[in-house]
């Protein structure tokens, strides 16, 4: 039988009618794919052209810039002082201002630039979909709230408030504030569930939603939001806080308009972006042309151990550069560590600001200047069905990649260009090492959130000095680790040790990375409490060194279960026996009857009983340069400050000294270091000979592996016989088996084996 395929061809008139019908009857305003993939600046508008033609005096524009910056700094401080979320109290927030088209033009000098950089996407969504929708519209006094990362965001725990600013009926800009709120009603308390297996486990997900009208919070909408989370008071307070902070920015913007005119404002917001792009192109042209590569591996999906490749290349030519993440892991749809690409780009933007050009305006042009390549869908450019709630676990790798890549092109720039960069710096610790908690407080309130210890990461070593200890999160300078006493007033948690710097766990080198600190947490006075963590890097060091410096160490989670340390401490003599040190506590096991474990640092939420001990480390920064070049006196100082052990000083740094007086023997040290250099030359193999036996064609069979191996265009996923390979341009998402089912299958097989033996 012959068949003929029939294709309906519409006349232009019919096509027009159909297009109009579809436009008017859109079923669902989901995330706009094209908008979400586009990190470029919007085209300059006719209105911006007009404003720039009227106001072109750089001094005047600089005055506007100063006002805007101080206004955003003021809003930041308002939120920090008033916010209820732990993240708000210690710096995980930001305030921003956007052009009328939605491009981020400037954000507050402190806080999370990442938040503002992703906030432009929901603003652009509002512009495109709500402006002309008769049921929504944009009016003076409107405030839109948003937290669904699929419309632009990192993960659903961050909530933004965005307000359009009108002047004489004209939309002239947008202003916003964002806080890492924490609790959002997800399947695990605290807003970042590692156990989430779909977006429906992630809790409250707000597409851009009007919650403020005529500068008043709409109580019906707010009540819905409060009803969706475990901490309704927090939800109310921080909606108010964000709204009033944004309204303060709005007031300041109006005063700028009154003083300088609306054209000056519009001209500044646009020129600030275009000038930043121009400056970045100038700086790129000062760097050598070439390709720099830096892959890294996460060692866990937070549900199971596996190696996840997170790839990155920088291709630079003239005043143009491409950031490529091709070759990275496929999307793991039912694991919480995927990222929408807008989020990945915003992390890169933050990394560029923090490690390369901190003097540039903190705006969208930092990333819009670059070309970008990725595989879609993949872990760092996932589709809208992937789970994202713990995206930061993989995304934090991308916060430090700009430093690792750019340093190899920036080191050689001539002296006159040095004022436009910072000293080469190894990676700051790049995992979210903190406790996420939830349950019933001593005040009988249900809550869930995270500890500000995430802001205590060690800085990477610099080319001219050591890294600073526990300086801040790698995502934001000027953030703090909080006051434990305040935390204990509100929450049933007790910190058993002070923030003791973690000995021997920073990156070693000519200059050493800054140390992180130990966290030893227990619960007290609660009927129900639990912890989870979202840290990887227990088998594979996460935080790299630079130019011969070593990475920082691996970090497990240590637990002592089945005990009540508070009861134990009451017994005579036990306070003296308690080590106040993770390593000593775990090795000596002084608390009788305790179950001591050290596991992969990422754990899903688990209930704890009073007095059980949970321990993690905030990580150290990477080292810089050859360990044998470290000044022996600096090694002695490290010993004096209990940062390193005698083993490290002797075996690694090869310093010869008197252990009692810490007096260096310079001649013997030189001899030991010369001997080590000779030993290196003896044990090292010529590269071509080495790779013959070293390089394997595929990843190790027995390790679950996700991502490319040598060739970016071939992607591996899985382990053993079940491993699949796929071309990167036809990559599909992977689904991971339920770890409990895997474990049960193993146990059942074991039971069957034992029962078989018994017969």
């Amino acid at each position: 039988m012959n068949t003929t395929e029939s294709v309906a061809e519409l006349s232009p008139a019919d096509q027009k009618i159909m297009n109009e019908f579809l436009e008017e009857h859109q079923l669902f305003f989901g995330p706009d794919f094209n908008q979400m993939q586009n990190h470029r600046l919007e085209a300059r508008t006719a209105r911006e052209n007009e404003a720039i033609s009227k106001v072109n005096d750089p001094h005047l524009l600089n005055q506007v810039r100063g006002r805007i910056q101080s206004s955003l700094a003021e809003s930041f401080r308002m939120i920090e002082q008033m916010g209820a979320a732990p993240g708000a109290k210690w710096g995980d927030l930001v305030a921003g201002i956007f052009t009328a088209s939605g491009d981020l033009s400037e954000c507050s000098p402190w806080g999370m630039a990442t938040f503002s950089a992703v906030c432009q996407y929901p603003i652009k969504f509002c512009n495109k979909y709500w402006t002309n929708d008769p049921s929504v519209g944009l009016k003076d006094g409107d405030g839109f709230i948003h937290n669904d990362p699929r419309y632009g965001g990192i993960h659903a725990t961050d909530q933004s408030m965005m307000m359009p600013v009108f002047h004489e009926g004209e939309l002239v800009c947008w202003v916003s504030s964002t806080i890492h709120e924490g609790e959002n009603g997800a399947c695990e308390p605290g807003g970042m569930p590692a156990r989430a297996e779909s977006k429906y486990d992630e809790g409250l997900k707000m597409s851009p939603l009007r919650v403020v009208e005529n500068y008043q919070i709409k109580r019906d909408v707010l009540t819905f939001l409060q009803n969706s989370v475990r901490d309704p008071k927090l939800q109310y307070e921080d909606v108010k806080v964000k709204m009033f902070a944004v309204m303060r920015t709005l007031d300041r913007v109006r005063s700028i308009i009154n003083e300088f005119g609306v054209d000056a404002l519009i001209a500044f917001l646009r020129r600030n972006l275009e000038d930043t792009e121009t400056e970045i192109r100038r700086r790129l042209s000062e760097m050598p042309d070439g390709i720099v590569r830096f892959p890294s591996w996460a060692d866990s999906s937070l549900r199971e151990p596996c190696l996840i490749k997170l790839n990155m290349e920088l291709h630079k030519k003239g005043d143009r550069a491409t950031l490529s993440i091709k070759g990275s892991s496929p999307q793991m749809s039912n694991r919480a560590i995927n990222n929408v690409v807008a989020s990945t780009k915003s992390f890169l933007l933050t990394g560029i600001i923090m490690q390369v050009w901190p003097d540039l305006p903190r705006n969208q042009a930092i990333i819009s200047t670059f070309d970008f390549e990725s595989d879609y869908p993949s872990m760092m450019d996932c589709d809208y069905d992937a789970t994202l709630s713990m995206s930061i676990s993989s995304a934090f790798h991308y916060l430090i990649k700009p430093g690792q890549l750019f340093n190899k092109l920036l080191y050689s720039v001539p002296l006159e260009a040095k004022s436009r960069i910072i000293p080469a710096v190894a990676a700051q610790y790049n995992q979210p090492a903190t406790f996420i908690y939830g349950g019933l407080t001593q005040h009988m309130e249900v809550t869930g959130n995270f500890c500000a210890d995430i802001n205590g990461a060690g800085q990477g070593a610099r080319e001219n000095r050591d890294g600073l200890h526990s300086i801040s999160g790698c995502f934001s300078f000027m953030s703090d680790t909080g006051e434990q006493e305040l935390l204990e007033e509100e929450l049933p948690m007790v910190r058993l040790v002070a923030q003791t710097l973690a000995k021997d766990r920073m990156g070693f080198g000519k200059y050493r990375g800054g140390a992180g600190y130990e966290q030893m947490m227990s619960s007290k006075g609660t009927a129900m409490w639990g912890f989870m963590t979202g840290q990887t890097g227990s088998s594979f060091s996460s935080c790299p060194g630079l130019f011969g410096g070593y990475s920082s160490s691996a970090y497990p989670i240590c637990r002592v279960k089945g005990i009540n340390v508070f009861e134990w401490l009451k017994k005579p003599g036990n306070t003296e026996r308690f080590p106040f040190d993770i390593v000593e506590l775990m090795n000596k096991q002084p608390i009788e009857g305790g179950v001591y474990t050290a596991d992969d640092a990422g754990i899903t939420f688990e209930l704890t009983t009073e007095g059980e001990i949970y321990m993690i480390c905030q990580g150290g920064g990477g080292g810089y340069g050859d360990v044998l070049e470290r000044d022996p006196e600096l090694v002695m100082q490290d010993l004096l400050e209990d940062l390193v052990s005698h083993q490290v000083a002797t075996d690694l740094y090869k310093v010869v000294y008197d252990k009692a007086t810490l007096r260096v023997d310079p001649a013997a040290t030189k001899q030991a270091r010369d001997a080590e250099r000779k030993a290196r030359m003896a044990r090292g193999k010529p590269y071509k000979e080495f790779v013959k036996t070293w390089t394997k064609p595929t990843p190790p069979e027995n390790i679950p592996y996700y991502g490319s191996w040598g060739d970016n265009s071939v992607i591996y996923a899985g382990v053993g016989e079940s491993r699949i390979t796929m071309p990167s341009d036809k990559m599909h998402p992977v689904f991971m088996p339920d770890p409990r089912e895997v474990q049960m299958a193993k146990l059942k097989a074991r039971i069957a084996e034992l029962e078989g033996k018994g017969k």
Partner: protein
């Protein structure tokens, strides 16, 4: 003319060779990967990050797992300086971390003065500011 590329590497633009900044050893052609002229050693990560927890008691000890993580150390064949470390998966091809366009580099530096000493960005002396004579 020589250009200082990293802490331990420079390129001689005339000979187009990578050189060690510590001992002047000629490492190899600048149009090739510098690693090809180095000595490589597969270092067990536990030697750098010693297990702090008792390995008999715990699977995780603060040391990376050598089955998952290897350190490749790249030494200068002339003096044994540790030029680069690479944390990788056992068997993974060494990363081609730095490939420079030598022709572009020559063109770029043809307009610049040679810099024999590297000064870190943070160590550039700031010009002295003019002092005002007033006192309060």
């Amino acid at each position: 003319m020589k250009v200082l590329i990293t802490e331990y590497l420079r390129i001689d633009l005339d000979t187009e060779q990578w050189e060690c900044r510590c001992c002047n050893h000629v490492i190899g052609p600048a149009r090739e990967l510098y690693k090809e002229g180095t000595l490589v050693y597969h270092r067990d990560p536990r030697e750098i990050h010693p297990p702090l927890l008792d390995e008999k008691k715990y699977a995780k000890t603060f040391a990376p797992d050598p089955k998952w993580c290897a350190i490749l150390e790249y030494y200068c064949p002339g003096c044994g300086t540790l030029i680069e470390t690479e944390y990788t998966v056992p068997g993974h091809p060494p990363v081609r971390d730095l490939e420079l366009d030598i022709d572009a580099l020559k063109a770029q530096w043809s307009k610049r003065k040679e810099e024999k000493v590297h000064i870190a960005a943070g160590d550039i002396p700031t010009p002295a500011r003019p002092r005002h004579g007033q006192s309060h």
